[in-house]
């Protein structure tokens, strides 16, 4: 009985050893680190102005003449960001044009339905000349909740008015075409 038992064990062990020898003919071992990836976030800002000017008086403005429109600025980037506004180079009339920027809500470029969310007080009230001209000198803007950090889908509408000040020195001068830029930079 014992002989048969030992014979069975020997046969099973022999077959197992043979199979193992065939499968594991070389020692080997690995370790891995999977799923490495870097996916960049985005900083995207846009507006609804349809390339129309916020103010444009080309027929000979008089002291006190003004024009205003509304622009809705939307932050669509995935990264939290700060947003500033600044202007491009202006002509000699710059010191005599008052720019007021109001913060609110609304979608219409002609300001129909604009609702001021700052109690009617402009968030910017300065001459065009004194307006910042780059990121460093630009005016920091807050989102609708009053935070400096804008998140995806934050949107603010600005009512912007340009007025010719009552100053004799302004006669015959021109601001020339200029641009307002809203810039976002991730925090």
């Amino acid at each position: 009985m014992i002989r048969k038992l030992l014979a069975s064990v020997a046969v099973v062990a022999g077959l197992g050893s043979f199979a193992a020898l065939g499968v594991y003919s070389a020692f080997s071992n690995t370790t891995t680190n999977d799923n490495n990836r870097i996916q960049a976030g985005t900083v995207v800002i846009g507006d609804n102005d349809a390339n129309a000017a916020l103010y444009s008086i080309t027929s000979g403005a008089k002291p006190g003449d003004y024009q205003e429109h509304c622009i809705k600025v939307t932050y669509s980037g995935s990264l939290p960001a700060n947003v500033k506004v600044y202007r491009s180079t202006v002509g000699a009339l710059g010191p005599y044009v008052q720019v007021k920027v109001y913060k609110g809500t609304g979608n219409a470029f002609d300001c129909t339905g604009f609702t001021d969310t700052n109690g009617g007080t402009p968030i910017i009230d300065t001459t065009l000349n004194s307006f910042g001209t780059n990121w460093a000198g630009g005016t920091q803007l807050t989102n609708a909740s009053g935070s400096n950090t804008w998140s995806q889908n934050d949107a603010v509408t600005y009512r912007i008015r340009g007025t010719l000040n009552d100053d004799n020195s302004a006669q015959g001068l021109d601001t020339n075409l200029h641009t307002f830029t809203w810039e976002a930079q991730n925090t």
């Binding site: 009985m1 197992g16 349809a50 939307t74 669509s76 219409a108 470029f109």
Partner: protein, 181 residues
Amino acid sequence: MSTKRSADRWASRAGFGLGAAGAVAFVLSSAVPAAPVGHALELRVVANLTGRLDVRPFGSFVRADALRAVPGHNQALGRTAITNQTARPLTLRLRALPSEGGLDRVLRVAVSVGGRAVADTTLGGLRAFTRTPVVLPPNQASELVVRAWLPPGTPRRAYAGRTLDVPLEFQTDFAPKDAAR
């Protein structure tokens, strides 16, 4: 004599049992452990605001926590309103930017804007902007409807346990004022 036969019987049984146990142990030790995956696909289709387009509601507007290639559980449907918030008509094209490419050939998507079908393709097919632009009149909302589904018969390994975010990207251009929808 009978004692010897009985002993032989026990010996052959023990030998067989030992061999079977060894075989089972060998198979079990060689088995690859099953991956800890779920049984379904978690899907989100996302639309966000742009400077020219208002989207309400924005963010995830198509959500499915357990999509499976089984009738009754294989599709997700969502709708949102997109509004041209400029003062001029816009042409709109859109595309998908899925977070991974593994389901590009598996998942089907159908998209309509303002009742007009703009895509009926695979997810991979929607990685390119839709060909036919839709005109969005100023200050009018158009319904964006997205349906995504796993065709019946899709092998489970193709989608099970995955989480897929599909942000939509909108491309707009100004259209002639008299542009028809």
